[in-house]
């Protein structure tokens, strides 16, 4: 299932599952990720699953590339039934105050605002990975005619809660950060909460997400 295992520096193992980005390959990555995480191997201190790679970093004082590689090659993968994934509804307000890039998208995609939202909302997206900034989910896949490049000049500050798209993916900015994705709306939901140490992320790799539109009034009253 893993095409190639190599070392990334002296303290990480780089598992390459191929170059394509699709749900089948990513599900394999997630299966490895969840199994290794559950096994809680001494010395392994971090796992980073992404679209088609899994990076396993370890404490060089406790283990080595050779040992971790050997463990990966002989791993008993968890049955997929045991991997619990959630289905989540994310409320999103696409009022003009929030949908900062809708005009740009109308031009690039040659679709009206209504069409863009119709194609984006109420569909299931798969969470490939979380990261870059804490808790940010990378969701896919968007319709082929919904795919736009990043902004040429990224924004210095993207507001917290922004729901944005680029290429075949959607994401949510879990806190204010620089960013270059096309912003469609904003969610009042707390997607990352560092005070919940055991479960800071609302959305995790393998979960399914559906965006449901809410009005500006519903948005304003959401956290009351």
């Amino acid at each position: 299932m893993i095409k190639n295992i190599s070392n990334l520096g002296d303290a990480a193992v780089y598992c390459d599952f191929g170059n394509e980005v699709n749900k089948t390959i990513n599900s394999k990555v997630i299966k490895y990720f969840k199994t290794i995480k559950k096994n809680n191997i001494e010395g392994i201190n971090n796992l980073t699953p992404s679209y088609n790679k899994l990076i396993i970093s370890f404490d060089l004082n406790k283990t080595s590339f050779k040992e971790v590689k050997n463990y990966i090659e002989n791993i008993d993968l968890e049955d997929s039934q045991n991997i619990n994934s959630k289905k989540l509804e994310i409320p999103v307000c696409c009022d003009e105050n929030f949908s900062m890039d809708i005009k740009r998208l109308e031009e690039i995609l040659k679709l009206s605002r209504e069409k863009i939202l119709e194609k984006f909302l109420n569909k299931e997206y798969f969470c490939y990975m979380t990261g870059f900034i804490a808790g940010m989910p990378f969701l896919g896949d968007l319709d082929e005619n919904m795919q736009a490049q990043r902004l040429e000049t990224p924004r210095v500050k993207v507001p917290k809660g922004s729901v944005a798209i680029t290429e075949q993916f959607a994401n949510i900015y879990t806190f204010e950060s620089p960013g270059g994705w096309n912003i469609l709306g904003n969610t009042p939901l707390e997607v990352f909460d560092s005070s919940k140490e055991d479960k800071p992320n609302l959305i995790n790799p393998g979960d399914t997400v559906i965006f449901k539109e809410i009005t500006l009034d519903q948005y304003k009253n959401f956290n009351e």
């Binding site: 070392n7 002296d10 995480k37 990975m129 804490a134």
Partner: protein, 314 residues
């Protein structure tokens, strides 16, 4: 509740609490953090009889000016740092790698690091800090860690919940060695670069840019030409990874790095050289030298033995 505390008279440029960092969180987007220069962090704690993973104050360039109130306590500063201690009757020039006993009303003025970036101030005791994921380490970009994930500010007061009973004065003769080359292991996208680009990477000099912080170190110099693709599908990062974005200027991921990135990885800094890498200040010249995995592993073991040896002699 004890009344032992410090007051920050001047915060310095980038003053944070740090410890060993936090792990098992990359998959949700939270980096390791922790003290940038691990060896100097450990020595600082050892000099004041702390547990080796106790919280210390890390500063960069200009450090904080602190006033202490309370019972007698030991302090120590590590790195290459210029500082003074102001007592009731005298002001003394401080030496790194040596503990000092201070008392109510004494002040520590950390003027600056000398041709390096990070320094560490340890107090012989325990700060009253709220931990996140079992670590105080402050990540100012994500606002994670003690002090609401923010830098220490002028005017702040921080309490101590414990003062070590053992107040023996300790010292060590450690000197921060400079190294000529930063040793690297070939990265997973090494073949993306032109023959000329690979030669430049291993043989030319780069300059550490001013745009460097706890997240990353940007380098300037000859451009490294990519002949395959200037982007890859986003994937995980670890500290020490050297990415080359389309402009051809390498960026080295440091302790607060983003956990995912989409630029090709030309190399990874060997763990043995990480502590010394982070101490290279803007304007410093950097040259990379290729080593293989088994050399890197051996060098790290030796470095680690040397660290343990240093600590055991304190």
């Amino acid at each position: 509740m004890s009344n032992n505390h410090i007051n920050i008279i001047r915060s310095g440029i980038n003053t944070t609490f740090q410890d060993k960092g936090r792990d098992h969180l990359y998959h949700i987007g939270i980096p390791f953090s922790g003290a940038m220069d691990n060896r100097n962090f450990l020595i600082a704690n050892k000099l004041v009889n702390n547990n080796l993973d106790s919280a210390v104050i890390e500063f960069a360039y200009q450090g904080p000016h602190i006033k202490y109130s309370g019972e007698k306590i030991n302090i120590a500063i590590t790195g290459d740092v210029i500082f003074s201690i102001k007592k009731k009757d005298a002001e003394i020039e401080g030496n790194c790698y040596k503990s000092y006993q201070i008392e109510n009303g004494d002040e520590i003025n950390i003027i600056s690091t000398n041709k390096s970036v990070y320094g560490y101030l340890a107090l012989g005791g325990e700060f009253d800090l709220k931990l996140q994921w079992n670590s105080c380490s402050i990540n100012t970009k994500a606002n994670i860690g003690s002090n609401d994930g923010k830098k220490l500010e002028t005017g702040q007061k921080i309490n101590l919940i414990k003062i070590n009973a053992n107040r023996d004065i300790k010292k060590t003769n450690y000197i921060n060695s400079k190294i000529e080359n930063i040793r690297v292991i070939k990265g997973t996208n090494f073949e993306y670069f032109s023959e000329e680009g690979k030669k430049i990477f291993y043989h030319k000099e780069f300059t550490v840019s001013k745009l460097s912080d706890r997240m990353g170190m940007r380098l300037e110099g000859p451009k490294i030409d990519n002949i395959v693709n200037t982007n890859i599908k986003s994937e995980g990062l670890i500290k020490g990874v050297i990415q080359v974005p389309p402009d051809g200027n390498p960026i080295i991921m440091l302790s607060d790095h983003g956990t995912i990135g989409g630029y090709p990885k030309i190399g990874v800094v060997a763990s043995v050289d990480y502590d010394r890498l982070v101490q290279m200040s803007p304007g410093s010249k950097i040259k990379f030298k290729e080593i293989n995995l088994s050399e890197a592993e051996t060098l790290f073991k030796l470095y680690e033995m040397e660290t343990q040896n240093l600590l055991s002699q304190i």
